[in-house]
Amino acid sequence: MKTLVWVEHDGSSVKDATLAAVTAASKLGEVHLLVAGEGVDGVAKVASEIAGVGKVHVADNAAFAHNLPENIAPLVAELMASHDAFVVPATTTGKNIAPRVAALLDVMQISDILSVEGDRSFTRPIYAGNAIATVESEDAKLVLTVRGTAFEKAAATGGSGTVEAVSAGGDAGLSSFVGSEIAKSERPELTSAKIIVSGGRALGSSEKYQEVIVPLADKLGAALGASRAAVDAGYVPNDYQVGQTGKIVAPDVYFAIGISGAIQHLAGMKDSKTIVAINKDEDAPIFQVADLGLVADLFNAVPELTGKI
């Protein structure tokens, strides 16, 4: 089988989620990549060094600069004439593009795969991860999105793919990019951090989040996360949200501080290696999944922890 993996990049480097998608694709067969964007020669070079990669298709066009699915999907559909599976990291960009491609190819997408069970069969979470379905595609071609935390990352170097320019596609004239507010941070990214410190509604304000959660994260070199309640209340920006509808994370250590442990939150973090929970309610559901639980008032316990760790 010949696969085409969507390379998620920021114009200069390849995002880690891509490396997990490459691993998933390599279980199906030959791995080809698609690098789309404007001025992406550098990224294409970086991508060609990913271990195990065959061809790297490079679509360099201003119309592809902002990943507008109206422009990208027809390009992918055209490339899929000579590939059997389109494999995409389950990021917000991937989730925006892949189903549009699937419908153009008249196939069902299989979302968020956790494992490759056979040529056409996969496992995937349903009901916020409260059940795992094993499914088999009966379509001629596969369109898959890949959960990044479920696959090892392919080695970023060691490969020697051949770069080939694609001239297909252009501006469909349906949409345009207006702007973005992307937080620049020195911290590790949530989805690839080794340690995450997350705060919940109990913090009560963005000042308290800054005062209590941030110093612990600073001390541990951790990424910052939050529950939906904390995001909705405006303590932190939306991209901090962990959960069914936020980011799926699986760090070595996840600190859930003042977070009750609703199933939608657990869906995003329960595959963490070690879960540490601090909550003043000893019956909080978070303790059912926590490896280390501390029943305490976070406003006392967290500063003390930050001081002593």
Binding site: P99, R100, A102, A103, T134, K219, I263, G293, K308
Partner: protein
């Protein structure tokens, strides 16, 4: 302009899903079912656009069993004007739903179709994007703000790094994220009024759509259970345990 709002009947988000012992699926017998939470947000957004004078009519659509009428009545009670039930006792996959919605869009000629970003049962997150491909319209997914300006709509999207705004030519497809709005509750008088609003019942065949599944579910199982660990007595014990694991500054 007209707005179409597809709404799905799903297991209520407060109910803990239980996998059936025979591994064929999740037990839906005698459990509370509700409108998919993202679809409530979609209905609310449509109503707000009508209140602003942007929309003239809101049509709620559900593909599902006869009981999905209840979900449509909820949409009508919130403020939708009429409803279409495309009845099917067999589960219809996102591609099938998108094809049915495409046929309805051809007939109704809406300015916007507002869907949820994902149905919380199958967590597919596909239908809106597929409908956009089939209609050839632009898509603004995971929306946290929607502003109609003349013959275009600007949509602010929740993306991995933060927020992004795109401008789409109308007609267009929008899918909702959680922070787009807070859905209203239907008042009792509106629930009563909703009972007499028009609700058409159709079948997938009426739209010439083949809903035969493309993906076979071989098995549904429980996820691996995570064992609860220990409770530590105080911060000192927590620090000691963390340090033993190699976690320190």
């Amino acid at each position: 302009m007209k707005i179409l709002v597809p709404v799905k009947r799903v297991l209520d988000y407060n109910v803990k899903p239980r996998v059936k012992a025979d591994g064929t699926g999740v037990d839906l017998a005698n459990v509370k079912m509700s409108m998919n939470p993202f679809d409530e947000i979609a209905v609310e957004e449509a109503i707000r656009l009508k209140e602003k004078g942007v929309a003239t009519e809101i049509v709620a659509i559900s593909v599902g069993p006869a009981k999905a009428q209840e979900t449509l009545r909820t949409a009508l009670a919130m403020g939708a004007d009429r409803a279409i039930l495309v009845q099917s006792d067999d589960a219809v996959e996102p591609l099938g739903v998108a094809k049915i919605l495409k046929a309805i869009a051809d007939a109704e000629q809406p300015g916007l179709v507002i869907l949820g970003k994902q149905a919380i049962d199958d967590d597919n997150n596909q239908t809106g994007q597929m409908l956009a491909a089939l209609t050839g319209w632009a898509q603004g997914t995971f929306a946290s703000a929607v502003n109609v300006e003349g013959d275009s709509v600007s949509v602010t999207r929740e993306v991995d790094g933060g927020l992004e705004t795109v401008k789409l030519k109308l007609p267009a497809i929008v899918t909702t994220d959680l922070r787009l709005n807070e859905p209203r509750y239907a008042s009792l008088p509106n629930i009563m009024k909703a009972k007499s609003k028009p609700l058409d019942t159709k079948a997938p065949a009426d739209y010439g759509v083949d809903i035969a599944p493309r993906v076979k579910v071989l098995k549904v199982s429980e996820p691996p259970v995570r064992q609860a660990g220990i409770k530590v007595a105080d911060v000192d014990e927590l620090v000691a345990k963390l340090k033993a694991m190699g976690v320190h500054s």
